[in-house]
Symmetry: C2
Subunit: 140 residues, 2 copies
DNA sequence: AAATACTTGACTATTTTAGTCGGGTATATA
DNA sequence: TATATACCCGACTAAAATAGTCAAGTATTT
């Protein structure tokens, strides 16, 4: 099980942003420099974040991205979802009645993996962007 | 985050085995047929399981593999470890003081991913092979 | 002797990941 | 109004990981 860079960078970038005053646009260039993430990659990531109502953009000079909501109200699960990054533990299609090998029934371990998936999703569901900030930053 | 087939098949195969009397060798051919997993792939998986003291082998006709311990005492974490399949959520090297981009310090999200890794490993640590068997099978 | 079943390293096709590229458009400021 | 800044967005690609397969065995039972 591995977490991919897209999700990791997305959370990293958003955490970086949330250190600044809410209405102050933060440019991807700055995030790129501070967090050492490729600017072009960030653009791809933020395109998705914007489409999914997590950030909004301000174009032109001194523009950048702004969090659309308070970090307290942004769950990690939303960020993952925005990037199409879901937890996948089973080999079968959820909707289908068939098992992971196309056979008739769900396999003997299906329930276990389902449980694991719910367990992991639970982590993301209960974590908010604000949880990443240290006490001093949170006061700001 | 995705679970790979190696781990999934390993648990599936071991769960299949644990339905049979403990001292009765179960051949990979049978598991392959019952669970629709490639025999050659299973061989690769069981090679590792054997090396890691989870199963032992019985060669020759009517041979097969036998669980080395009671399913009650086989943790999923051991199975994963046997297959070199570890949970990896961070971008940096654990030992190193450096961050995930080779920069000086650990990044702002490092603690979060560490927490996630511990959280997931915890699931595997607390699950045993016996937990996969239904009540009737457990009596057996 | 023959069949069964494990042994073990190497190899390969496919898929996924981690980005890059290119050619835009909108806005602020000098 | 020219220019620089910064977002916009689809398409592309190299590299790594995954999911197996292949080959050439060895040990044991019947
Ligand atoms: S994981 Fe769903 S049937 Fe195997
Ligand atoms: S995840 Fe460890 S430094 Fe970024």
């Amino acid at each position: 099980m591995k977490l991919n860079t897209k999700s990791r960078y997305a959370v990293m970038a958003l955490a970086d942003m949330s250190k600044f005053p809410l209405n102050n646009p933060v440019s991807l260039r700055d995030i790129s420099l501070r967090q050492s993430i490729s600017l072009l990659y960030l653009e791809q990531i933020f395109f998705r974040l914007k489409k999914n109502d997590i950030v909004k953009s301000v174009r032109g000079t001194n523009g950048g991205y702004v969090l659309k909501r308070d970090p307290k109200n942004i769950k990690l699960s939303e960020i993952f979802k925005a990037l199409d990054q879901r937890v996948k533990t089973v080999g079968c299609k959820k909707e289908s009645k068939k098992g992971c090998n196309g056979k008739s029934a769900k396999c003997i371990t299906h329930e276990l993996w389902d449980e694991l998936e719910i367990y992991i999703n639970n982590f993301f569901e209960n974590k908010k962007l604000s949880d990443l900030l240290s006490t001093e930053e949170r006061i700001n």
